[in-house]
Structure formats: C-alpha cells, structure tokens
Amino acid sequence: MGALTRRGLLTGAGAAAVGVAAGPWVLRSWAQGGPIKIGVVLPYTGVYAVLGESITQAMELVFARENWTVAGRKLEMIKEDDEMKPPVGIRKTEKLIDSDRVDILTGPVHSGILMGMRDKVHNSKTILIVSNAGADAISRGRCSKWIFRTSFSNWQPCQPMGGWVAKNVAKEVFQIAPNYQAGKDMMAAFRETFLPAGGKVIAEDYPKLGETDYAPYLTKIKQSGAKAVFAFFSGSDAVNFVKQYDQFGLKGAVKLTGAGFLTEPDVLPAQGKSALGVLTGHFYTPVLDNPVNKRFVKDFKARYGNKTPDGFAVQGYDTAEVIIRALKATNGNTQDKDKLVAAIARVEFDSPRGRFRFDPRTQNVIQPFIYVREVREVPEFGLTNVPIDKVADVRDPGTGCTLPA
C-alpha cells in the first residue's frame, strides 16, 4: 500500500487515485492467489536423514489435516536436502530465498548450518522457524527478529538435569560429550545447576565426533570413582557409547544420565537392552499422557506404517501448527512480514509436549516441561523413555539477545 501510494504521488494525482483504488484489490489477489511457499532445509540423506524424515512427516501430517490450504491459499512445501553439510545447507537456503522466494523457511538439523544461514535470513528479512538445530547463540547474541525456534536450545534439556542429578542420583559426576560446540554447551548448562546443588565434576572428556571406540574413556570413567556420568551423544555415537558402556559392565556401578538425544527413538532400537535404566532430560516422550499427544501418536502411527513419533516429529508438528495458526491470524497475508512475525510470536496452543508458546525475549520455545525419563520396556511401546519427574517452564536465559520485548 505504502509503495503504491508513493508511486501514485510521483506520477500524478490521477494515477494516485487509481493506485489507492487498486491497492486493496491487488493485496487481496496476492493473498488469495498463488500458493504459500514453505521452504524446508533438512538432511534427507546420510545418518541424520531419519531426523529430517521425522520432522517432515509430522509437518505433512498437520498440513494434510488442513487439506494443504490455509485462509483460502494453497500450501506448498519445497524440500531441500542439506546433507548435514554447512556449505550445502547454505547454498540451498540461498536458492530457497533468492529463486523460490519462499514465504517461510524452516529447518535445519545442524547447528553449523543454522549459524551459517543466519545472516542471509536476517538480512533478507526471511522468516525462519528453526525446527531442530539447538545452537544457544540463536537465542542469545545472534538472535534475530526474523528467527523463531520451535525445537530447543541446547541449554534447555541439560540445565534442569544438573540439579536433579545432584539431588536424586549422585554428587560425583563424570561428564562426557563430543568435542564440538553443542557438546561443550550442554556440559556447561548441566553444571549451572549441578555445582550450586553441591555436585562435583570428577572429570570431563571430549572424544571426537564420530568416535567408534570409547574403551579408553570407559576405563577412565571406571577408575575415576565417579558415581554417575552425564553424557551427550547423538546418532551413531549414541549407539556406540551406550552399548559399549553396558559391555564394559559400567551400567550397574555408575549411573548413566544425559541429554535426551542419548536415547531418542532414532538410536534406541540399535542400543537395545543396553539402554535400559539410562536417565535423560528431554521435552518429549511418546508415552506422555495428554489428549493432544495421544491423538498425535495415533494419527502419526496410522499415517506412517505404525512408526512411533519422536521428539523430532513433535518439533515438526509444532512448526507446522505455528505456521498454520499464524497464517490464519493474518488471513493468509504473507506480504506484510511484520504482521506475520507478530502473529507467529502470539501463537499459543496445546502441543503433544504441553502448552506451546514462544518466549518474547528470544523467540525460542518455552519448554512447558523438561521430563526426566528412564528407559524402560513398556507393553504398548516396547523400549521407550518413561517420564519419572519433570521441571516446568524451562526458558533459555537469552543472555545477550536484544529483541524488543
């Protein structure tokens, strides 16, 4: 409207009159015309393809429920495989923004890709809804008006575990995580509540990402006299670590605790009984007893060959719910980006994980609960994470983020 009016003034009063008259009609035709394009940057090949698949499946479940239509406009998903490689992810992001001109962008899984795409997203004023990558910085010094996150910050599943482990498990803990930023962030988040609760970190170790043999570290853990371990691993690292931990006979002697990814359903079947008894903190588990989750699990299983949804699927579900609800609130208008951002910020609904809302200070999700979960064998679900305790309203401290409140 503003642009039309100004151009109208420049080209004379008559044209201005036409411009103003045409304005609303033009806007409406935009709003009801072409499809709303949702750009998706996720890994669809490689070890982490199962994460991309879960997120995508849950998004499609929600969009299908809405008949791929919102406020009279068609929804279109443009999926790009980032291969978990930052250069590829950034190239695909540029393609989605510059040539596809997507209305909303979502993804990625890899924090390196998120940090790499951040400036492009911010400078092009593209709305990004982060559906996995947990880099703390995106809720802190590198936050942006255009970036929301429905998944988690790395800090969120770990910080509540520190105090809980000190109180309920042991005060002498060995910390171990892969040697990269997320690993170190998670270990630091744990210490934030662990040390004040009287906990003592006996030692810490940072094996390389993609390690296959943890034997030297397991021997050190055994020797250290630690009463518990707090670990973060994911993917094949999580399988190797948990299995070898059990094979070294440590499970009975030193309690294994960690961030939720250690025993998520993408790795749990390969870990098998070695994972029994492992305690982890996470915002979701498919056995949660609330009506939204029960329906989600049922619908997801029905649509995807009896596959049980995991936390990644919930991230996809919530991302799609946020998109649908915000677009309904703007009546399908994607041109006024400020309004759309405001609508996204206001979205609130019952998610399978609990009441979903964004933290206005960081635009990161406030975790309704971080559940302390124990791996058990349950009749209906088989090997799964059973919640045994919870901490409510976990919001990232957002240190250094200067978003307007």
Binding site: V47, D205, K208, P216, S236, N240, G249, A270
Partner: protein
C-alpha cells in the same frame, strides 16, 4: 584431572582395538598385495557383512550362523564384482580401477538403504560373550577378549594359508607372473576371482565381528575405509605381517592418545602414519618402492 594411569587396562583396550583394525584391513591388504587392486569398496564389503549378519541373525537367531554365512554371501558379491566389473579393467590404468571401486561405494550405499533402510543398526553380542570380565584391575567386555583371540587365530591361519600351503604357492606364483603361471597350467582367471572374493569375504567377516561393538548405517563403508587404508599404508602395501603389526601399533597409539592426551587424540592415527611413512616410505613391511 590426571588419574593414575591404568596402563594394563588401556593396553588391553588398545590390543582389542588393534586386532579389530587388523580384521578390518586384512581383506584390503590381501587384495592389494595379490591383485594390485586398490579396492576402495572394501568398506562397503564390511557394511554388507554387518547387514547380511543382521538379516541372518533375525532369521536364525544365532550370531555364529551369521558369522559363518554372512562372509560367504559377501564373498559371492565380491566374485560377481570381480567377474563383471573389475576384470575388463585389469589392462587399464590403475586409476580406472580406483574410480570403479569408488563408484561402487555409492552403489552399495544406496543398495543397503533400499533393502534395509537408513536407520542406525547394530548387532547384539552373542549371549556367550554378553558380559564383562575382570583381569587384575582391568575390566573388559568378554566379547572383546573373544575378538582378540579370534583376530590372532585368523592372522595365523592366513599366514599359514599363504606361506605354507600349495594353494598359497599357486596364488603367489600367479601374482608374481600371471602369464608364466598360466603357461604352467594354472587357471589364473579363476584364481583372481577367488582371491578377490576371499578379500571381500574377509571384509564381510570383519563387519559381523565389529557389529556388536560399532553401529552400522548406510554410509559406514566410508567411515571404515579410512582407518583400514591407514593401516595398509603404515604396515606396507600388500603385506599381511605389516597389516597385523601396523594395526597393533595404531591400536595402542590411539588408545593411549585418548586416555592420556584426549585433546589431540583425534590426530594420533595421522601422526603415527606420518612418522612411519617419513622414516619408511614403503611402510613397515612393504616391498621396496621402485
């Protein structure tokens, strides 16, 4: 915080890891030594071994049946690859063979994804070796003790086969001068297929053996290939003895690196390789470079 280093326990860890490396690399070194083929698809044979093992365990419920049959299946795949794809390239430059086996990595990766899916898988250890044992101060999974024993027996058996049997003598003759051997009535074509299939079967065998320790996924072949290639370079291209000694050295270096110098442990394998190649460019037991 430094611990009093558990030398014995870590040395055992290093031995188990080294023997596993030997099993991973021995097929690669044999194929190179006997056929002069750098088989980059060796990691894929490892991967096929794990997945074939998983299927056989699901079907029969027995780890031992899988350990016996999976390598045979992978050997058969190896024979088909040699007959159908590699044979026409013997007279072409080595680079063509390298490119072919490199391409096979992607072919097998997609094949595995197509048949078994992309999820991370792992073989449960056999019930007999599911627990752990304590030796002095050291605790070790009993399965790793089995791997140590199995690997050392394999090394001895392979050495006897190649150096002490008539079959080994025929193979060595064929490698030394294929035309002369053929003139003496040896079917070198069949022999080359046999050696390649045997190397592939050893790759498959290492997959089943490693399955209870390391997880498998469709791109695991590439992950496995790198340490296997390093062992072959360190030990000397094509040398069985070199493959064993190289594996054991790297196993100890990596293990003590992780235990005592965790910050630089990921470089340890490359440091060892650089040092050895600097001092002996042909590797520990490699043929003199011309």
């Amino acid at each position: 915080m430094p611990f009093i280093p558990d030398f014995f326990g870590q040395a055992l860890n290093g031995l188990a890891y080294g023997v596993l490396l030997f099993l991973l690399s021995v097929g690669l070194t044999l194929i190179f030594g006997m056929l002069d083929v750098v088989n980059l698809a060796h990691g894929s044979f490892y991967m096929l071994g794990v997945y074939a093992g998983l299927t056989l365990i699901a079907a029969t419920g027995s780890f031992w049946v899988a350990l016996l049959l999976a390598p045979l299946a992978v050997g058969l795949v190896g024979a088909l690859v040699e007959r159908g794809l590699l044979r026409p390239l013997y007279r072409r430059p080595t680079l063509d063979q390298v490119l072919l086996t490199f391409g096979l990595i992607y072919l097998f990766e997609d094949l595995v994804k197509w048949i078994w899916g992309g999820r991370i898988r792992s073989i449960p250890p056999p019930a007999l070796f599911a627990g752990s044992v304590t030796l002095g101060d050291a605790t070790l999974p009993s399965y790793r003790l089995f791997v140590i024993a199995f690997g050392l027996v394999m090394a001895l058996a392979l050495w006897l086969l190649i150096e002490k049997t008539r079959l080994g003598a025929i193979i060595r003759a064929g490698v030394f001068d294929a035309e002369m051997a053929a003139g003496l009535g040896i079917n070198t074509d069949r022999m080359f297929t046999g050696v390649f299939a045997f190397g592939a079967a050893l790759g498959g065998l290492s997959g089943v053996i490693a399955g209870p320790i390391q997880s498998a996924y469709p791109s695991v072949g590439v992950t496995i290939l790198i340490p296997a290639l390093i062992v072959v370079v360190v030990g000397g291209l094509g040398s069985l003895k070199g493959s064993l000694v190289g594996s054991l050295i790297i196993g100890q270096a990596e293990t003590f690196g992780k235990a005592w110098l965790p910050g630089v442990s990921m470089l340890m394998i490359y440091v060892v390789m650089a040092l050895i190649v600097l001092l002996r460019p042909q590797g520990l037991f490699g043929r003199q470079l011309k």
